[in-house]
Symmetry: none
Subunit: 123 residues, 2 copies
């Protein structure tokens, strides 16, 4: 499919898709006329790229990841493993923090509701 279609499907801008191409992150084949031709598989890859970008990984790191998966080469995987582990522990810490914040908020909401209840009872 052409670049416009995959952009529409994935919600990623045409500009970004060309950028990924330029970086070698996601390289479509070219038609006779020079148009980029994306395979259906590319759709999934674009979404993967977006997921990891949202995670805060750089395109460079993502390129390492894609190499690992596509070629299943251990050398690439070795490089990428510590990055994953690092991210994983960051994410675990993040989840933990957010859960604390959540408890805190729930507590506060409950106490507001309690207070409201109390003042209603007084009337």
């Amino acid at each position: 499919m052409k670049i416009g279609e995959i952009a529409a499907r994935t919600g990623v801008s045409i500009r970004s898709l060309r950028y990924y191409d330029q970086l070698g992150l996601l390289t479509p084949i070219r038609r006779e006329n020079g148009y980029r031709e994306y395979s259906p598989l590319a759709e999934e890859q674009v979404k993967t790229i977006q997921l990891y970008l949202n995670l805060g990984l750089s395109t460079e790191q993502i390129a390492g990841f894609l190499n690992c998966v596509l070629k299943n080469k251990e050398a690439f995987c070795q490089e990428v493993l510590p990055i994953y582990r690092q991210k994983l522990s960051e994410i675990e810490a993040q989840i933990h923090l957010l859960q604390n914040i959540k408890l805190n908020l729930e507590e506060r909401i409950r106490s507001i509701l309690d207070e409201r209840q109390t003042s209603e009872a007084e009337e």
Copy 2:
């Protein structure tokens, strides 16, 4: 403590600390001479900010979190209830997203380790 000391303690550059101050993310008091004076609590806050940044959150989002949790300790409770509820659902969504990412990462790590195991067994 002065900015240089907290920079050394946290590993965050002086430049960044001044930037956080400028954005209202972490605002130290000022001495007579204009120097920034950080409380010991600030050290923990700086680390929290860094964690969020490493996760790919923007300073704006971080400011939202910090405001949600640190500010509005007790006053204005009634008015603040819908804000709390809003924040709570945002946080729940965030936790959910992170848990998905976590599962995804764990999966990746596992498959890399499997691969390694397999190729060792082949030899």
